[in-house]
């Protein structure tokens, strides 16, 4: 999730509810087993994307890459229904949250759109879901070959949960873990895949490109990625019993190393926040959802 300059104010949150249609279809399906899937879609890890201007409405190639983001989201939805999903909720997790076109979304899914969302990239997730899917994800800013690597609006030197460096994928997975929901599939650049493998949950992962620097990569063809996502989501859901939710135990210690001391000064106004050193702050949260909201708050206080 990354904000684009000028994108912050004035956005309208709208949630598209096409649940009635999904309900009709599931009622006619042979197997009544509930399989509710949450799909969080970011943009930097979409096939073909390598530089920032491709990821925001001001960029000249945004329309092109937005189409690919749409195609990858729809591939994930299709893969989920291939595996017997009874309900799929898609969250537009990138920037303004208005990148996915509601009219082009697979009508079997519902869409959560807009920003700001107190629950960031997991808005709408709760214990009623059976699996999570990440599309278009990327690594955290500390990874050298992470394409467009960052965490929220920040370029923190690192974000650690109980000492382990995580990116947006790890933060989202931790909230899923709280609800006992595993991330069964993730697509993103190679650095994302490597970082997410570090959580050792056994998730199905797909690399969409091999980063050469923060803004260059050897690409996997967009059509190949779309096919891979559909197959991968299906495979991940089918073997979901072998994939663990990422559970950190309680409490969870969140440490964020910020870009400068002025940002840390602002963050220190948050009740119970501790200062580790000039740039690093620490918050001991009773559980993952609390940790996540604190991170969103830190981001709101320090992001551009």
């Amino acid at each position: 999730m990354m904000w684009l300059s000028g994108a912050r104010p004035g956005f309208i949150t709208c949630a598209w509810a096409l649940l009635s249609l999904a309900g009709t279809l599931s009622a006619t399906a042979a197997s009544p087993t509930k399989l509710k899937v949450f799909v969080s879609v970011d943009m930097e890890g979409i096939a073909g994307v390598v530089v920032e201007r491709q990821t925001g409405p001001e960029g000249h190639d945004y329309a092109l890459h937005r189409e690919q983001m749409m195609a990858e989201a729809n591939a994930a939805i299709a893969g989920a229904f291939d595996a017997g999903a009874t309900e799929v909720v898609v969250l537009d997790s990138h920037g303004s949250g208005t990148n996915l076109r509601p009219d082009l979304l697979d009508p079997r899914a519902s869409l959560i759109s807009g920003t700001p969302r107190p629950w960031g990239m997991v808005a709408g997730l709760d214990g009623s879901f059976d699996a999570m899917v990440f599309v278009g994800y990327h690594a955290s800013g500390s990874v050298p070959d992470g394409v467009l690597a960052h965490t929220f609006n920040l370029s923190p030197l690192s974000v650690r949960l109980n000492g382990q460096v995580v990116g947006e994928g790890g933060l989202s997975a931790a909230v899923g873990g709280h609800f006992n929901v595993p991330v069964v599939f993730g697509a993103g650049d190679r650095a994302f895949v490597r970082q997410f493998q570090g959580l050792r949950t056994g998730a199905e992962l797909l690399a969409t490109k091999d980063g050469l620097s923060s803004s260059s990569a050897a690409l996997v063809h967009p059509y190949v990625v779309v096919e891979g996502i559909r197959k991968g989501v299906k495979a991940g859901l089918e073997r979901r019993a072998t994939i663990s939710p990422w559970q950190l135990g309680k409490p969870i210690t969140l440490e964020v190393e910020l870009g400068n001391t002025a940002e840390a000064d602002r963050v220190m106004l948050i009740p119970a926040m501790a200062r580790v050193d000039g740039r690093t702050v620490r918050y001991v949260a009773p559980d993952a959802p609390t940790m996540y909201r604190i991170f969103v708050l830190i981001d709101r206080l320090t992001g551009r």
């Binding site: 104010p9 107190p118 000064d265 106004l269 948050i270 009740p271 909201r293 604190i294 969103v296």
Partner: protein, 294 residues
Amino acid sequence: MLRSGLVALALVWSAAAPRTLAAPRLNVFISTDMEGVGGVVGEAQVQASGYDYDFSRRIMTAETNAAVAAAFAAGATRVTVIDAHGSGTNLMARDLDRRVILVSGFPMPGGMMQGISSDEDAVVFIGYHAHAGVADAIMGHTYTDGLRRVVLNGHEVGEFGLNAALAGHFGVPVVFMSGDRAAIDEARGLCPAIEGVVVKEGLTRSAARLTHPEEVQKRISDGVGRALARRSGVPPVRLTAPITLEVELATTLQADNAALVPGVERVNGTTVRYRSDSMVDIYRFSMLVDRLTG
């Protein structure tokens, strides 16, 4: 004239007395803002980019010096001055009374009351203004324009109320305040015993009938002296726990952000509520909400 002559005699006496006995501690904490100093009526005078800012900061420095001199004349053992306006770099350090400790810059972790503690014996506010939404208050606001309404334990407050309650937490009374008529009325509403000097009578948000700045400085000097002399008669503003702070923000988006803070309740679309047994927590929360509205 006669009255100030008597006061001056009294000050000489009270300043002289401690030297012969064991000098009692009298640490004075001065928080200086800008909207409520003499002669200032509009935004152009209180923003560093404004064409008349140089004028205002000279007045601000002079009024602070008047308070400092009066404090030392009343037997102060230490005077700390907080530059509590905007960037915190308004007071001209070179022109300030050289006996003071100046605290300058932004942000300060403790905001307009940086460093207040039970080591202080009396608080003085210079250049203060009313809270947002008061008719005829010169540039009334609380911190920034994002905080439309601030209610502390059921009382609508502004910077005076928040700052006085924080001082009260440490048992320190606010003995004196200068500002526009609306600011002084607001302060007396919460603390009737406070010594107040009205430096201008607001006619609208940005027009006022002024008292000449030199006369203002004289009244500040007299007023601070009087206030410190009778400080035992001015009670600290103490709140009963649990303390509740409600903040009405300008937009629901700002309230969305404020609602991220642990423990915050959303009262309605634009209003959030926070509770704590400690005024220190409440004060920090007010600063955090303000930061989130920017």
